[in-house]
């Protein structure tokens, strides 16, 4: 077989998002720190190899937020405790006596290793899920994903894209206005100074919105293209219901506490609804996007690579494999080898997927 040469291009964004969701599902089923750190590592490796060079890489920001969550949880647990009683005392903080009605709350007192580990593992799980989302963001920006909204939701998609541009623009404006303030000899940071900034920032943002609205209007935003109002409404309704279903199903799958049994059926139902809206709407709406990414074998394989750890860890947590939810003891947790291998499988898209397009400087 000839060596497989792939043209540099961006892979279908849905593939990367499904991969990220698979990995996130896997991470949400375990509190084993080794597995979780491995998930984060996989995210970093895949993003380093395949992130879209045309956009700013958002993964570092997600990692920082994750780290902040872990530190915050540990500090809060040390100060307030988390109802987890352990034997290994690390340090005893001076405790603040509280009245009887607040008996369930404590401030200070003994800090045990077990409660700290519990907090750290739990926070690490959230951080790993965040890393998966950050990786999906870096590999395929949500804007690109929005282009695959059904044709009936085309205008909604555009509005969301505009919204996504608006927020970072507001920051740039704020910086510009602040810089302009220093030109008038004001470089204070007080509340009054901030209040002074809001008016020009909002004014600029408002003017830009009006300009953009005028531009979109004159470029045909919201035109009806050969479809009746009724059919469009029906399709939009179906699509929205479907999306809600998909989201609810995903929530059920990811959060084991909220009825994981219901998760899968709701997800399937939502996907069916969304699919039918596509058929209803798209059959009447001839609008088509420019240069949709093709769904190729690499996309399918990427989704599978994400599905493997998800499947293995869902089974592992349901079957109660040792080490998936490790005990909070002052010892290295047991590492389930099969789960480690499954997570490693999800790193393979870093090599078999096409390289991202080059961007001229």
């Amino acid at each position: 077989m000839a060596r497989l040469e792939l043209r540099p291009r961006l892979q279908h964004p849905a593939a990367w998002w499904l991969w990220g969701l698979g990995l996130a599902t896997a991470a949400s089923r375990t509190t084993n720190p080794v597995l979780l750190l491995l998930v984060v590592g996989v995210c970093v490796v895949v993003v380093a190899e395949r992130h879209d060079p045309a956009t700013v890489n958002p993964l570092p920001a997600f990692l920082v937020i994750g780290a902040v969550i872990v530190v915050f949880r540990i500090v809060m647990t040390a100060l307030l405790g988390n109802g987890f009683v352990g034997q290994t005392v690390v340090v005893t903080l001076p405790s603040v006596p509280l009245p009887d009605w607040a008996a369930s709350v404590r401030i200070g007192g003994t800090v045990t290793l077990e409660s700290l580990l519990y907090a750290a593992y739990d926070a690490l799980r959230l951080a790993a899920v965040l890393a998966c989302l950050g990786a999906a963001n870096a590999l395929a920006s949500p804007r690109r994903l929005l282009r695959y909204l059904p044709a009936t939701l085309y205008d909604v998609g555009t509005a969301v894209v505009v919204g996504l541009t608006f927020a970072p623009q507001l920051l740039t404006d704020a910086r510009d206005v602040r810089a302009a303030r220093t030109l008038r000899g004001r470089d204070g940071r007080g509340v009054r100074e901030m209040a002074r900034l809001t008016v020009p920032v909002l004014e600029t943002a408002f003017e830009r919105s009006l300009g953009l609205a005028a531009s979109m209007e004159s470029r045909g935003y919201g035109r009806s293209v050969r479809s009746t109002t009724t059919s469009r409404r029906a399709a939009t309704g179906l699509a929205l219901a479907g999306l809600v279903g998909v989201l609810a199903g995903l929530y059920g799958l990811l959060d084991s506490s909220a009825g994981g049994v219901l998760g899968l059926p709701v997800l399937v139902l939502g996907a069916l609804l969304a699919g039918s809206s596509l058929v209803v709407g798209a059959s009447r709406d001839p609008r088509s996007g420019h240069r949709r990414d093709r769904w190729t074998w690499t996309a399918t394989t990427t989704v599978l690579a994400g599905a493997v750890p998800a499947a293995v860890l869902v089974i592992a947590s349901a079957g109660g494999w040792p080490g998936v939810v490790p005990s909070q003891q002052a010892q290295l947790p047991e590492v389930p080898l099969l789960a480690v291998l499954a997570v490693l499988v999800s790193a393979t898209p870093a090599w078999f997927t096409p390289r991202p397009r080059e961007v001229a400087p």
Partner: protein, 540 residues
């Protein structure tokens, strides 16, 4: 193609109608230039063509506007999108997507073209406007000229028969402006698209125009021949000024036509040497601004690299160069808006380091009027703005107000700053900054959106300030303003100084930055019509 029948536009609360009884018929395939001072109703006229006025802006439109037989009263702008494309003044605020290629495809997507057609037209359009190397680039990272070309390409791709452009080149350097105009020229000549464009910088566009429409206080002339229109217009480029001075007929519009007629003028001027008006200025020692090895990085990119520059007290120095050459960054470095990553800056006779001072102390030595003067303004009225400026700079009350009176031709103090014309807003921002009576005044691209009248007044103000000892350093694309006011011109490219010398020498020897009068009279190095007029008066 476009028909106006007795069109008047009246905005609510406006004392006078913005357009008054306009009757006009623009034929297909013409490049029509709309000429008029700021606030004369040019933008309103352009926006009636695709129905944004009155559908989007409000106001009352009487009469009838029809494009390709479609009445704008019955068709909303979005329905006219297949017929008319409108390019706004500031393209970056009108982008809907974030990548060049997607932006070009957007219009066609909303129209529901099939994906094969979209793909083909995207490729054709990218080629036509020379955007192929930029196709995957983020729109925010493009230079001004590139953004403007993308904006035009995005509209053109949707296949309208009419393109309407509001000041497409006013923010661009001369070379980028030429690129944009060349693209327009191509689509008019090869593809028969009708183009209607308004522009203040007539020297750039008037020779491309097939027809000219003059607008003044809401009244619109019929379609005129460009040469004839330039004879009648109150606004004209320097080459027409020269022609009016000497009495050439017919009026030449391009440098080439003017040079053919200029041989006798060159002979007449041959004996006398150019004597600049600025000779009267007393230029002090070169210690007003002192940059040594200045290096600035922004967003991980080195924008200025090892810049050495000294500026003499009481002089006017112009920084020129392409969009993105580092002009604004250099001004920002002097005003301590950007952190230095190397080198040092000293400003004023006392040689203070602006980066080491608090903003309050700094503004007494160096004042910067930014590219968007409205960023400096946030009060509810002009009067309140002036009072706030006095307060900010600790100046005696009434200082800013008096400065504004002197600079401007009279501004109504109760008006909201955002309702002022571009020129008036710049004058207000200038008055605000001058309230701190800085030793060094920096201006970043001050002529954006200014008509010739406002520009002339700005030139006088700057000359006056320099005569009183203020050092002026301005970054501009405006060759004619530089010819008018500058003692010295510094040209930047890629973050380095490539040319530095007396204005006359530098401007006359550069193909891109030579003013029109110089181009007509080369090898003699006259810069402005006023200089030539002065010399002719002396000869006579």
């Amino acid at each position: 193609m476009i028909t106006f029948e007795h069109v008047s536009v009246q905005y609510a609360d406006a004392p006078a109608p913005s357009l008054h009884d306009v009757t006009l018929e623009i034929p297909e395939g013409e490049l029509v230039l709309v000429v008029g001072p700021t606030g004369s109703g040019k933008s309103t006229l352009l926006r009636t063509i695709n129905g944004l006025v009155p559908h989007f802006s409000g106001g009352t439109l009487t009469g009838r506007v029809a494009v390709d037989g479609l009445d704008t009263a019955e068709h909303r702008p979005r329905d006219l999108a297949t017929v008319v494309g409108l390019v706004e003044q500031n393209p970056s605020s009108t982008f809907v997507t974030d990548v060049v290629e997607d932006e070009v495809a957007y219009g066609m997507e909303t129209m529901g073209l099939d994906s094969t057609t979209i793909r083909r037209r995207v490729e054709e359009t990218l080629d036509l406007f020379g955007l192929t190397p930029l196709r995957a680039r983020s729109l925010r990272t493009l230079s001004g000229g590139q953004q403007q070309r993308v904006a035009i390409a995005a509209l053109f791709a949707a296949g309208p028969r009419v393109l309407v452009l509001d000041e497409p080149t006013s923010a661009l350097d001369p070379v980028a402006a030429e690129e944009v105009l060349a693209s327009l020229h191509r689509i008019v000549h090869d593809l028969g698209v009708t183009v209607v464009l308004a522009e203040h910088r007539l020297e750039r566009v008037v020779h491309h125009a097939d027809r000219v429409v003059l607008v003044e206080e809401g009244r619109v002339s019929e379609l005129l021949d460009p040469a004839e229109a330039m004879l009648r217009s109150h606004i004209y480029p320097p080459v027409v000024g020269l022609s009016r001075l000497v009495g050439w007929s017919p009026t030449p519009l391009s440098i080439r036509d003017a040079r053919r007629k200029a041989s006798s003028l060159r002979e007449a001027l041959g004996a006398s040497a150019p004597r600049p008006v600025a000779d009267l200025r007393v230029i002090g020692p070169a210690d007003a601004v002192d940059l040594t090895g200045v290096r600035v990085s922004r967003g991980g990119r080195v924008v200025l690299d090892g810049v050495d520059l000294t500026v003499a007290r009481g002089s006017v120095t112009t920084l020129m160069g392409r969009n993105g050459a580092g002009k604004s960054t250099l001004l920002g470095a002097v005003a301590a808006q950007h952190r230095l990553s190397g080198g040092r800056v000293r400003v004023g006779a006392a040689g203070i380091d602006p980066h080491g001072r608090s903003a309050r102390e700094r503004v007494r030595t160096v004042g910067l009027v930014p590219q968007q003067p409205e960023l400096l303004l946030y009060a509810e009225s002009v009067a309140a703005e002036c009072a706030a400026a006095d307060d900010d700079f600790g100046a005696p009350s009434g200082t800013a107000r008096a400065l504004l009176e002197r600079i401007s031709g009279g501004v109504d103090p109760s008006v909201h700053p955002r309702d002022l014309s571009e020129g008036q807003r710049l004058e207000l921002a200038l008055a605000v900054i001058l309230a701190g009576s800085p030793e060094v005044l920096l201006l970043d691209e001050p002529t954006r959106g200014l008509d010739y009248g406002a520009k002339k007044r700005l030139g006088e103000v700057l000359t006056g300030l320099a005569a009183q000892g203020t050092t002026v350093l301005l970054a501009t694309h405006d060759v004619e303003l530089a010819a008018e006011v500058a003692d010295r011109v510094v040209i930047l490219a890629d973050g380095e100084i490539v040319t530095d010398g007396p204005a006359r020498e530098v401007l006359a020897s550069s193909p891109a930055f030579a003013p029109q009068v110089t181009k007509v009279l080369l090898p003699q190095t006259w810069l402005t019509v006023a200089e030539v007029a002065g010399a002719l008066a002396r000869i006579a």
